[in-house]
Symmetry: D2
Subunit: 330 residues, 4 copies
């Protein structure tokens, strides 16, 4: 069986998914839609698919699944429409910035029985998957403490910041999901600190650029997240899991792994410059997992519920910073 895809949104991340779908032996990219015809046509010509309207894709008989890469504020509506149209749905995170809206959307998904996967791509990074496997294989015993370091090479434009829902809902949300993925137990409390150290304009927009978070589960397992909108040495993405019997860590990735030595010391090149190159394999694996779940009719993960849980942690972090106290969740 080949899964036939429609792509909604032909921007930066849309291109990533167009390539992943086209390169997968079990999928075909049938059509692409975008408010900007040129963007849609660029993808259509590169991958040999049609340009259609969203409505046409919704009504199409030759399309089994859609990938939603449109702006965030359209996600929930599109998910509902395509769930009702009987398509399998892959949606970039987040479903929405508002918890109530996300819940309503998930209800529609459940009523229709639609398949929905949320784009937490990092779960599909081969290195992070290998850490998860080390845990599953019992090699480090019960998980006790998770450490996630996630720093962007630079801050996005303030315009983006304003629409983003803030650092916790835009950036840390990936780490909240990763913490849940690694802890294997739901966090029940959130402690967070936040500051503006990188760019005053971010503060003036009501957001932060440097945050630290502690999550704790009912049994006392802890996850610590460290985020910054600045890292001169590249896209810093590390995870570490400390357990009763040992420790497992995934280190940073760089495009070339060479070392040059001289009187200044031994130097290895900077890391990948951002998520597009760092998570190339993760994006391909993610779409492959979505396709496999459709083909085999198996459960989809990460689901809408995972998207909701991460958003709830982000909301709690915002509240913890404001109120200077531990916020209970779940």
């Amino acid at each position: 069986m080949t899964v036939r895809f429609g792509l909604l949104g032909a921007g930066r991340i849309g291109k990533v998914h167009a390539k992943a779908v086209s390169g997968d032996a079990n999928a075909t990219l049938v059509a692409v839609a975008d408010a900007f015809p040129q963007a849609a046509e660029a993808i259509a010509s590169a991958y040999g698919c049609e340009v259609r309207t969203i409505e046409a894709i919704e009504a199409a008989k030759d399309i089994d699944a859609v990938v939603i890469c449109t702006p965030t504020d359209t996600h929930a509506d599109l998910i509902e429409r395509f769930a009702r149209a009987g398509k399998a749905i892959f949606c970039e995170k987040p479903i929405d910035l508002d918890v109530a809206r996300v819940k309503a959307c998930i209800e529609v998904v459940e009523e229709t029985g639609a398949k929905l996967m949320v784009g937490f791509n990092r779960r599909f990074d081969p290195h992070f998957m290998a850490v998860r496997k080390v845990i599953d294989d019992g090699k480090i015993g019960d998980v006790e403490m998770v450490t996630i370091t996630s720093r962007d090479p630079g801050a996005p434009p303030v315009d983006y910041i304003k629409r983003s829902g803030g650092i916790f809902r835009d950036m840390t949300i990936h780490d909240f999901d990763m913490a849940r993925f690694l802890l294997g137990e739901e966090p029940v409390s959130v402690l967070a600190t936040a500051a503006v150290l990188v760019d005053k304009a971010i503060g003036e927009a009501g957001d932060y650029d440097s945050v630290s978070v502690i999550l704790q589960t009912a049994s006392g397992k802890q996850a610590v997240i460290s985020n910054s909108r600045r890292a001169t040495y590249g896209y810093d993405q590390r995870i570490e899991v400390h357990g009763a019997k040992g420790m497992a860590a995934a280190e940073n990735q760089r495009p070339v792994s060479i070392e040059v030595a001289n009187g200044d010391g031994y130097t290895r090149p900077p890391l990948h410059d951002f998520f597009m190159t760092r998570y190339t394999e993760a994006y391909a694996n993610e779409i492959a997992a979505f396709i496999a779940a459709i083909e085999k009719g198996t459960k989809i993960s990460p689901s809408g519920a995972d998207g909701l849980a991460a958003l709830a942690l982000a909301d709690a972090a915002v509240q913890s910073v404001k109120e200077g106290k531990l916020i209970k969740v779940g």
Copy 2:
């Protein structure tokens, strides 16, 4: 000039300092005192010094400085006595488990004009000193986020736990000092979580074995501390400083740095098994700095005020865990 030393306390850490003093070209170990004569005699015979009573050392004309390695509850009293006796004082951390008592003790030190150095040995670790130097040299710009990971290979006996003042005052206190050393700005708030994951008996004794802490300074700089009383792979001691222009980190140390590869992968040996071997150079450098400060009449660091500041952070962490909120300090 040679600084002539008396050693108070001939236990495990006393031996470390006896060796450091004896091995230092600018110092002589003149006498040792201990409640257990055998312990004192062992040191006396190994290093060719006399066994004396504390009173005799206090009154001695041939002793310029003392190293206090007796049980914690005697530290403050001894500091006061030897300050009044005109000796320079090196005291193992902590001065006392009670902030008020520490303050009173420091007052006496100030009145007498005595020199007092507190044993935060990690400031003298060559690797951590090199990170501090990188900061001082401006190589990573303004410090933004500090990460300290500190895990003991195993938990101490519960009897020790009971007398220790709890994990924050006994173990994390080193990391509070390290955070202050690296941040270069005083923390003004403390957020802490704590759990019992390693040994239930520790919980029954009213303490924790796994804790996470976030400190924040007035300008928003953050330090995250992760502690566990368990680490199967050795004594885990890492610091990382993230700044506006770059990042500096000191990695773990192991006694032998070899690598063995086979079908299971590439394996390097475990880390040092505990602080005695991990911080050998730090202990020697620490005493050398104390001796140098006496000889040159320069300011001593870390001082009693540093001991007090770290203890205040520990107290705030205890309170943060109990009350589930951010605690202001300073």
Copy 3:
């Protein structure tokens, strides 16, 4: 312009190139030929191309270039035929195991003005290319000593060994090419030792499985090559270049870079299991360079002359082992 390809040989390495050609935006795979129709059809169906005979590809107007992946003893003949047919030719190493035959073949290529690239894929590995760039940028000064370590995870079947021309012509030949690539000056002498340490059957077939070689150039630059047909920890592929101003090295690659720590130490997974996964990017880059050279009409490298030079070094190594002396080349 799109370069239209015919593929000769649909075996293991043929599949690698079929994928590389198909995945390249500037190329199309038009047809494939193989003595085993099933092998050809498998590629034809996977990449949507035709199955044709070699003769048909030779005569085809819709084919600009061929990739030769047939058995070694057919390479020289096919190169000559396709040179005369006016096609651009990419040929897997070696052109032939006999220097005289290689020379005759290169003469035909020169007479016809055909473009010929020889498959020394490692020159296109991104890590090795980065080392070459470090040299070109003058960062390590004049090259003085090159060290190449190349060990296969396991020995090939003895049947293969017998047809291979021996370890120097089959395996070390890649390292001879890499040495030339890195030295930037032709070797003028070869010293080699060889032994059978891995598998006696290899010795009985008249070959060796463990060899060490020293090359030296006229100015005294040296390259040391270490080969083994055994490596329990994966496919060991390292290069190091020591120069007047510094050193540059490319380290081994592994599919996942995680680390697991426990009482046995810190363990990273084994390396890639062989060249197909280790050099995935190199194969894609190699074909892309071939395509680019055709499109732009630029000089092709590595050329037939490079193939000949590496083979001459291999022959000299065989002679050095037999005669126990330094053999002059070039």
Copy 4:
């Protein structure tokens, strides 16, 4: 029992041994002799020992053992004198630059039954010892290929070069000994190349500064040695042992192991600047082993025979370069 030492030679390496002897709980430094009274007095005053003549040390009843750190051309004579005087002897390498003289000296040692240890300090480096232990524990199976990289930060003065016996007898000799230590089987053949790449004056003095050597044993085990008199990044000292079941390596050592990351990449500091700091522990362990062998009456290693074997390999390397052929040894 305490072993009472006389030190012959109070130069750079004499100081290293004076410190090692003084710091060893089972030894006392009784006296020091040097042609330059000031040098001897400096050591005498630092370590609280007497200055005596060589004759006085030879005749002394209160001295059990001597450490010979005088110029190379006095070694053999002094060994013979002190062997006849019934002292245990530790002699810095080499015994002599002439094989015949070394053999004659060893005969005297054997006749007198004196204990003689030769200063191949690297055998006592904790990291190299750990590699040897990995071999002894059978973890990598039968040794097949040894790789030794040894590069000095800079060339010694040409005056020194002239007296040194040449790079093979002065510098590579340590690697010849290390190869024997790691191979566990005697080399039977030597292939060597040599060039002048660092300093023309070295060539004018009749020596080389960049050499590569291959040793092979009767069973085919190989050791490759790479030496240079130049390394901008510090004192480069690496060993690697490849065996039937795996590989073991000791990596380079640096005084501080930190990492600084910025837009230029991740940089670790240069290595130790030379052997005095790199091999501090090795020198202490070496003297401790000498003392232990005296106390326990056990066999001493490395012995005079080890010194002779390494020198024979050096002579063979010189001959191999001159004659351009493989030289048989042993």
